[in-house]
């Protein structure tokens, strides 16, 4: 009995993820990258994660068997000490025309060059750039084989393309970052409204790809009197505002605690302020891997962030039947939290810090007082996360990565 060969199964594709920095980074995008890489490897694809960073450590999140992690930046040794020294000096040149090219090449040229060389050697079927630095390098890399380039965006587009404080501060990059997107075959955005931001030319390549949210079996009642806040301790998350609110709320709600999970540049400032102002019942928990378990027992997630992409802390809280309080003008969050259904959206008022503080204090305080409302909002959380079930999201990933037609999903 002699049979004809079967076609190669669709599972055996080569996929590379590119991200500039991954070592020991515990952010949401890094987590999405690792979870997606793991899920695609479990579906039989060959997955490699490419970073380009001086830290020689591995990722914070565990990779599944089959996922190879490669840091493209060789360690500094021998002559590389010298060339690195020159390169780092060049990045301090004045960022003016002509010189800006030198600054740009000194800062990003190595990533693009090494990524290009590696992609030519490994010839993946598809490469997914995570966040602007890797996406720009991917767009610039020239390869000699058919390869789909996918950009995975994890913020509101204004933050990725227009905020001069974010990502690469060089003039050249800021001028070219958006233009380079024309070399990308698929642009995955987290929410439908982000698609509308792009120009007509680019919008043809944009598809909506939410993050996956794992459902949790959680009780609606019998929760501890704990308000959680989860996120990097950075200005954008507005933990300072939350602590201000808590200063007013805590005396009126004995027995309640505020626990803040996360690490970041503001850690010392926040700790000093809590100590100096003797704010009661508030604890900085630091970064802990068991934070997800606390979504099952605490009562409320307070998330006063300025803007978000697709906030994992919010989705995980909702999936674990925990109501979320956040501002109505916070992108990403305002798509996931429905006022009166699975949480509370706080009006921004005139947008001033004072107006925000007063409104957030009132809303959070009212929810802490009203157990019945908390339970009703808690019950609304898990159904609202059903469209983001991991299997559905990974199906969508595969469609974006491999299908010829643009996926029309607009979750």
């Amino acid at each position: 009995m002699i049979r004809q060969p079967r076609p190669v199964p669709p599972s055996g594709r080569r996929i590379a993820f590119a991200i500039e920095k991954l070592a020991q980074r515990s952010g949401g995008a890094e987590r999405v990258l690792i979870e997606t890489a793991n899920a695609l490897a479990a579906r039989g694809h060959e997955v490699e994660i490419l970073s380009h960073e001086p830290r020689g450590k591995g990722p914070f999140y565990d990779t599944a068997p089959g996922v190879v992690v490669s840091n493209l930046l060789p360690p500094r040794s021998g002559w590389r000490f010298f060339t690195e020294w020159i390169r780092s000096r060049l990045t301090f040149l004045p960022d003016y025309p002509v010189l800006d090219r030198i600054v740009g090449i000194a800062r990003d040229g190595g990533f693009t060059r090494r990524l290009e060389r590696h992609l030519r050697a490994t010839r993946p079927d598809v490469v997914i750039g995570f966040m602007p630095p890797a996406i720009s390098a991917l767009a610039k890399a020239r390869v000699d084989h058919p390869m789909r380039r996918v950009a995975s965006m994890h913020n509101a587009p204004e933050q990725d393309f227009l905020n001069p404080e974010r990502w690469n501060h060089t003039r050249l990059d800021q001028r070219r970052r958006l233009a380079l997107m024309s070399r990308i075959d698929r642009i995955a955005v987290l929410l439908p409204e982000y698609r509308d931001w792009y120009s007509d030319d680019l919008r043809r390549a944009v598809c909506v790809l939410p993050n996956a949210v794992t459902p949790r079996a959680a009780a609606v009642t019998g929760r501890e009197k704990v308000v959680m806040a989860v996120g990097r301790l950075a200005t954008v998350k507005r933990h300072g505002l939350l602590i201000d609110c808590w200063k007013t709320i805590a005396p009126a709600h004995p027995g309640w605690e505020l626990r803040i999970w996360g690490d970041g540049p503001l850690k010392d400032d926040l700790a000093a302020r809590i100590r100096a102002e003797s704010i009661p019942a508030v604890t900085l928990m630091g970064h802990r891997s068991d934070v997800a378990d606390h979504y099952l027992t605490a009562s409320i997630l307070a998330h006063p962030a300025e803007f978000e992409g697709f906030p994992l802390a919010v989705t995980e809280a909702l999936a674990a039947a925990m109501p979320v309080v956040g501002f109505e003008d916070c992108s990403g969050l305002n798509r996931l939290v429905r006022d009166g259904v699975n949480g509370r959206l706080v009006p921004a008022g005139d947008g001033s810090d004072t107006a925000r503080r007063i409104a957030f204090t009132e809303t959070l305080s009212a929810l802490m007082q009203n157990e019945a409302l908390r339970e009703a909002l808690a019950a609304g959380g898990p159904p609202s996360m059903a469209p983001y079930a991991p299997d559905r999201v990974i199906d969508l990933w595969e469609e974006i990565l491999f299908a010829d037609a643009m996926p029309c999903a607009s979750a």
């Binding site: 002699i2 060969p5 055996g12 080569r14 089959g66 490669s70 050697a121």
Partner: protein
């Protein structure tokens, strides 16, 4: 019916070698539900027919099942091996190349070792079990053991005491999925690439205990294209450059030296003296430090032998 073990054999123009391999499988003391899958890589009709006849005879005289398939043309070993991977659905997988043989207790010893690992609490879904083997070349045989301790990426790259030979392996199907598919651009040395991907992907290779060989490999350099070997080796080094760069630079120099030395050996074995000399010169010029070290060691051993 789910098989406990699929034995995957690529075959090309060597029905007698295939028969030898099948006979060694028939003699296995392990008697679980085994199936042998043979994919003929587009051999001429008479070789294919002979190979299929051997497979039919094997199925008729042993309790084991056989699946014989054929590529319409000669697609090369990596594509044939990928096709074998597509055909397998057993819980465990082992490999054998047509012409090489297993000794009777190979499968039993390797399964026993997997059981031992399971009893120790090791997750065998990411473990391959290799073994000591006999290496026969030019009529001479030597027994080589696999030293699997330490940094397996480094050991595989250096290849002095731990070598990437697929026909030594047995493991769960899940463990083989870690390595993915064979790189079809590598007509040679695809085993090394496959092993490196497995280890870099979180897999671990163990060896069945004991110093006795469990299989025999019949090595020949004849007919192997030196430039093809050289190109394949270089490609593997480029693919794994990020991992290699984590080690001292001397390793990179050594590996590039090795690539040229290996190509030189194949060129010499196939009568291409000029090619052999060219690769040797490239080895010396490209990695002078390592070439000097090798020359010094050779000189010392000659002096010792002479003295």
């Amino acid at each position: 019916m789910t098989f406990a073990l699929d034995v995957l054999i690529p075959h090309y123009c060597d029905p007698d070698g295939l028969k030898r391999s099948l006979d060694s499988i028939a003699a296995q003391t392990w008697r679980g539900r085994m199936r042998v899958i043979v994919v003929d890589d587009g051999s001429p009709d008479h070789d294919t027919l002979a190979a299929q006849t051997h497979c039919d005879a094997f199925a008729a005289t042993t309790p084991f099942a056989v699946l014989f398939e054929r590529n319409p043309t000669n697609l090369g070993r990596p594509r044939t091996r990928n096709r074998l991977l597509d055909l397998t659905d057993a819980t465990h997988v082992a490999w054998l190349d047509a012409g090489d043989i297993w000794y009777p207790d190979k499968t039993a010893r390797q399964f026993a070792h997997l059981d031992t690992l399971t009893a120790r609490g090791v997750d065998i879904s990411s473990v391959w079990v290799t073994c000591t083997y006999d290496w026969e070349q030019h009529g001479r045989a030597r027994t080589l053991s696999q030293r699997v301790g330490g940094d397996q990426v480094l050991e595989l790259l250096v290849g002095d005491h731990f070598r990437a030979y697929l026909w030594t392996l047995l493991g769960t199907a899940e463990a083989f999925r870690i390595a993915g598919r064979f790189d079809e651009r590598l007509p040679r040395l695809q085993d090394l690439d496959y092993f490196l991907r497995f280890v870099r992907g979180g897999g671990r290779i163990e060896t069945a205990p004991g110093r006795r060989a469990l299989c025999r490999y019949f090595k020949s350099d004849i007919g192997r294209n030196a430039s093809e070997v050289h190109a394949c080796y270089k490609l593997i080094l480029t693919k794994n450059a990020p991992a290699i760069s984590r080690y001292p630079r001397a390793l990179s120099s050594k590996l590039h030296y090795k690539a040229n030395r290996l190509a030189s050996r194949f060129a010499y074995a196939n009568g291409d003296r000029i090619g052999a000399a060219r690769y040797l010169a490239e080895a010396a010029l490209g990695s002078p430090r390592h070439a000097l070290l090798v020359a010094r060691n050779v000189l010392r051993s000659r002096l010792r032998a002479g003295g």
